[in-house]
Structure formats: C-alpha cells, structure tokens
Amino acid sequence: MIPELNIALAILLLPLVSFVLLIFFGKRFMEKSGLVGTTFLGIDLLLAIYIFFSKLAVETRWDFTFTWIDFHTVVNNVPLKIDIGIMVDNLTAVMLVVVTLISFLVHLFSIAYMKDDVRYSRYYANLGIFTFSMLGIVLTNNYLLMYVFWELVGLSSYLLIGHWYEKKSASDAAKKAFVVNRVGDLGFFIGIMIVWMQFSTLTFDGIFSAIGHGNIPFGSNTWLTAAGLLIFCGAVGKSAQFPLHVWLPDAMEGPTPVSALIHAATMVAAGVYLVARTFPMLTADALMVIAYTGAITAFVAASIAIVQNDIKKILAYSTVSQLGYMVMGLGVGAYTAGVMHLVTHAAFKAGLFLASGSVIYAMHHALHHLNDHHTDAQDVRFMGGLKSKMPVTFWTMTIFTLAISGVPLTSGFLSKDEILAGTLAYSHFTGHSLIPIIGFLVAGLTAFYMFRMLILTFMGEHHDKHRLDHIHESPRVMTIPLMVLAALSFFVFFSFNPISASQGWFFQKMTYPTVAVPEAIASTPTVEFIEEIHHQHTMAMVLSVAVSGIGILLAFVTYFWKKISADAFERALKPVHTFLYRKWFFDELYDATAVAATLGTARLLAWFDGTIIDGVVNGAGWLTKLVSVFSGKFDSYVVDGAVNFTAYFAGLLGLSVRKVQTGKVQTYMIFAIIGFMVLLALYI
C-alpha cells in the first residue's frame, strides 16, 4: 500500500475515533467534548491538506484494493468475489479538503453555538460519525462501500436532524429525510444489482473497463442507460433533486451548524459527487435526464425560495436550487464545472448557513433576554437593521451572497459561468435550448432572493428598537469560521484569472474522465465539447452578469428602496404566491398519494390479515367445532342414551338391593364367604 494511503486511511478513521470516544466517554468529557471533536478534525484537516498537495503534485492515482469476500466459485469463467478498497485521485483529494475543512469549521463554530445544549457530547459524536461516513464516500473505489457509507451518511443525517427529538417536527423531519433518501437509495441499489450481475465486480475501474470493452448489461443499451439512471437515483435522494427534494427544507429542523455541514456543503453534495464518479458510464440519454432533473430542481427550488420568510428555509431552497445547478452542469457534460461549483458552493453555502446561525444565535439570545417566546427567531420579517450590531456577520454574509449570485471576482462567478457556458454548448450540440434558458433564469432568481434575504435581515430598520439593543455580535469562535469561509469565496483560490477558471489549477487538475460508454450512445465527445465551451464562454459571462445584476437590482428596488411594493405584488398574484409559498404543494401531493397509499395499503392488508386469512383459519377451527358439536349431539342423545338406559336399569336394580349395603365390613365379608362357599360347593 502506498504510504499516502495510510494517511488517507488515518483521515478516514480519525473522526470515527472521535465518535467512539465521545459516545462512550461523552459524560466524562462534558463541555470539553467540543474541544475533543474539534481537535480530531483539526488534525484531520492538516492531513487532508497534506494529501491534497502531495496528490496534486503527481499524476498517478493511488489505489488499494483487496478481496473482501471470496465466494470460492466461478461464474462466467470469472472467479466470483467482492473487491473493495480505497483510492485517492484529484477529485478525492479536493473533496477530502472540502469535507474536513467545512467539518472542522462547523466543529469550531458549534463550540459556542451549541454550548448550552443538553446533548452536547452526543452532538459532537454524531458530527464525528457523519464526517467519517462522508470521508468514506469520498475515499472508496467501489459502489459497495459507496453504498455502505451512503447509508451511514443517511444515518448520521437522521441523528443530527433529529438532534432535538423532543420536538415532533424534528423527529418527523429526521424520519422523512431517512425514508425519502431510502427511496433514492433503492434505485441506487437496483443499479448496483444490475452492475454486479453483469460485471461481477463493483469497483469503478472494473466496471468502466468492462463497459469500455463493450460489455453492456444484458446486451442492451437501454439497460446501460437504466443502470446509470438508477445509480443516479441515489444522487436524486441525497442531493435533494426533484422529485425527492422535499426532505431537505424540513431537515432545517436540525441545529444550524448541522445544516451548514450536512445540508449545504457536504452530504447533499455527495449526490453530485456520485454523478461525477459515475460519469464514465452515463449514456447520452441518461445525461439528458440528469440535466433536466437538475434544471427542474434548480428552477422549482429557486421559485419557492423567493417567497419564503424563514431564513433557513430560504437557504435550504437555495441549496436545493444550487444542487440542481451542479447536477445540471454534470448532466450537460460540463464535468469540471459541475465539480467546481460543488467545491465553491460548499464554501459559500456553509458560510451562509453559519452566518445565518450567527444571526439566529443573536436573535435567540435577544428574544430570550426579553422573555419573548412567540417571535420566531428565524423569520426574516422580524429582523432588519442588524448590520450595525453584527458587522462581521454582515460583511461575511454579503460576500457569500455575492458569491452565490455569481458576481465577478467571487468563486461562485467562476464556477457558475462555466456551467452556463456548458449549458449553452449542450444546446448547441443537442438543441435542448430549454436548459440554458432555465440556467440563466435561475441565476437571476438566485441573485434576487439572496439579496432579498440579505436586505431584509441586515439593512433597513429594525422595528423593535428595544430588541435591537440586546442583539450583539457573536463570539470570536463563531466569527472566525465565517471569515475563513469568506476568504475562500474569492476567485484567487481557484484561478488567478478572475473571469475565467479554465486556466486555473482546478481545471488543469480536474480533467474529464475517460468516457467508457460505446460511442453510438455516448454524448458529445469531450474534446469537442470543451472547445465549444470556450466558444460560448464570453457570451455566458456577459449574460450571467446581466441577469445577476438585474436580480440584485430588483431586490434593492423592491426591498431596500421599496419602490415596488412586495405586498401589492403578493396580493395581486395571490394564487401564485400561495402556490410558491406552499412549495408547489409537493408535501401535500406526496401525503395524499405516496404516504396515504402506503398507509392505506398497510391498513388494508392488516385488515385482510386479521379478518380474511385469520378468518379462514378460525373458520376452519369453527367448522371443526361445528362438526364436533353435531357429533357431540349424536353422542349425547343416541349413544349416551343407550348408555344411560343401561345405567338407569342398573340403578333400578341397585335400589332394590340397596338394603344389603350396611357399610359394615364384616357383613360384606359374610357375603363374600357365602359366595366362596357356593363356589366351593359347585367345585365339589
């Protein structure tokens, strides 16, 4: 094994060690739990950075595979065994840094944010297991381990969303997240089954090389497309893509740092990562479905985000929208752009969540101080004017907002541009012009709703002066992560050219993977596609800056200068507003169809079981009993009748000789002897 892989393994296992320590000795650590977890993650981050630099310096890929289970049998002349292992390539190296960095910052942030929590050490333990599973997803080189860690991420997400499980809404959200994810995982698993059946291996390399050699599931292109799409189902669940996006906004019931870590930067990005990993086996058809899924998700979520009032809900839908963006980017074939958006988005979205956490923390303390238990600490309508009170939070938040809106000089601008250029190139090759249209539309919407949030929260007037007096900037341990993330939201970390990323290290190192799919059903060849992106880049840049500018301007006009009355709009478009505010009625729709159908079927079958099947069983018993009653009657009247008559006769007889029975033994004995003598006499 390559020595660096030992370090990679250490990176993987350190959070697990932290988890084990905290779950078993959490009580002993008490308030030091946070420090323990943070220390472990700090070491983890340093190791990850080391791996990052040493990996990017070399071309080769580090891979270590071993046989986990050997079935000792041969199928289709291939020994049947399951190989698993870990590998580090450039994508993994980047993801390692992203995951450990965000996780470390969230650990740090939580020291203050969660310090009064009743289950402080449990919280850190769960963060540990989450980080472990997430790193597992990133490091593995096969679908089996991928699925294993995939599910473990689901578990840790369940535990963290349900951290405040005393609240019904929190435990509901946790359950919903897990079950909805399971639906996606079901598809993923079926995909794995197809792959396993066809290739008898689950390592990425093995599968892609087999496909490269023309080995296609069941010899059918459709099945190859299906396999790719089924694996993509996993991503749909985890990355909250339409139609399984409903769990993510609910997941905001978890603590805000958790939202930052899991539901903004890492776990939800795992789906995008999965698509990136699976990229070589996706056919053109599959990619098209993926692109549309991403586009629809991006649009639906953005439209909902516009009208939400809860600061975390806005961010949640913005996350869903941005995830749709990434998926769309990958779907159109802009591989590097999609991955890069994943990385840049991780930084600024985590920042946004942490900043919102900082705001909520301040609001919460102020409300707590005023004994106000009715005002929602997360509702932007009750905020405003916080700028002066929380300058660090405000400025970092502004940077993040600029980044997500795709304003030049930010990292978000670079990645978003590339995706939009990719969509343009895609429509150029395939004629699907709807995708770039949605792409630009969503870019504008994003700029609009993000600035709406920023303005409502920090600018303008706070309508309760008294409360404003009680609002303070968050402690240093919370603002430092914000500042780090804000710094990372600038372009320099990804490319020295502020308007194009394609010459930066990211694009140089994160090259397109070799497509394994047979040419006939593959999408546009990589080289041509990259060429076309270059052609479209300028146009994309201009357009995206324009739509973002429009979006930002509209936000300022409406909410800062109040030239347009948002309320008037709301009233004028009441049905539309309600439709958006209620999230396109997805929850209601699912409740009415899938959930109701499941529960209905459950009740029906339980009734069937208890009434029909058991009825048959009991009926058989009843029938037997009935027969026995009949035979019993026959027995008692006919057979017993005969018997009783005999008894009656005997009784009659007995009555007459009753007097003989004196109860004295000796009298009986006389009779006995008489009898004996009679016998004797007869014998003589």
Partner: protein
C-alpha cells in the same frame, strides 16, 4: 396309644381349646392371653410335623412379636380408666350359620378326600431342618426371601409413618 399320639392329642386340645377361648371370650385381655396358648399348641404341632425350626420361629415371632403387638394395641386403644374392656359380638346368627357350613364343608373335604401320602407317620427319621432351610433360603428361595425382607422393611417404615403422622394430627382433632 404311643407317646406320639398322646403328645399330639395334648397339643391338639390345647390349641383348639385356647382358640375357642380366644374367639368366644368377651374380655379382650383374656382373648389375648389364650391366644398365647394357641400359639404354643400350634408350635407343638409343628414339632410333631418334623418342623423344629418353624416351631421355634412360631414361638419367637408370634409369641414374642405379634402377640406383644396385639397386647400393645389392646392397651393403647382401650380406655383404661374404664375397666370394662369387653368387646361385643355382632352378626352372631348369620356368622354362626356360615361358619358352621364352612366348617362342615372343610371337614367333609378333609375327611373324605383320598390324600396322596408318600410317607406315613414313622417313615421319616426325626432330623433337624435348620440347615436345610438355611440353605434353601439363600439358594433356591433367595428372591422371595429378599422380597420378603423388603416387604418387612416397608411395613415397618410404613407403620411407623402412619402411627406418627396421625399422632401429630391428633393434637388438633380432625375436622371431619
């Protein structure tokens, strides 16, 4: 009449007479004591039948054991304050008739039967039988012998149990 006959008739008389006293005496103590003589008489008859060992056994067990037991029974069950330890009879008439018929039958059978006799009186030399019985007990009859010993053991234990348990119970008179 030789000596043998004299001795026989003597023992026969003692046996029958004392048995009559046993049966017909109203006083239970008299009955018990005359039973002693009956046993003696029977032992004598055993001797006349060449069964010396059995005669001794008869004396030891019946006189030494059973009779003493019976006397204990009499004493334990009879209210000693009340001097009258007589016991009545019942069913006298039917019993007398039955017994008479029975005796007649038995006597008739014994008298009229033509018994197979291989050795007449005097054919057999008088000899001791203890040794032979001893041999027989531990060879051919060892199983019945062992069974008998077990039965005795059980009887003793059982008797002791019954007497004792009821003894405990008697402290609070039975509810029945």
């Amino acid at each position: 009449m030789n000596m043998y006959e004299i001795v026989f008739y003597f023992f026969a008389f003692v046996t029958v007479a004392s048995a009559a006293v046993v049966v017909f005496s109203r006083n239970i103590v008299y009955s018990a004591f005359s039973l002693l003589f009956t046993f003696f008489g029977v032992a004598g008859i055993y001797v006349l039948l060449n069964a010396d060992f059995l005669a001794i056994t008869q004396l030891l067990i019946y006189v030494g054991g059973i009779l003493v037991l019976l006397l204990f029974g009499v004493m334990l069950t009879t209210n000693t304050v009340n001097i009258d330890i007589k016991s009545g009879s019942m069913n006298v008439i039917p019993a007398v008739s039955v017994v008479a018929v029975l005796a007649g039958l038995l006597g008739g059978v014994f008298w009229t039967s033509d018994w197979f006799v291989s050795k007449q009186m005097g054919d057999l030399p008088v000899q001791t039988t203890s040794k032979e019985i001893g041999n027989a007990l531990i060879t051919t009859h060892v199983l019945p012998f062992e069974v008998a010993s077990v039965i005795l053991l059980i009887a003793i234990v059982g008797a002791a149990m019954m007497a004792r348990r009821e003894g405990l119970k008697s402290q609070n008179p039975s509810s029945k």
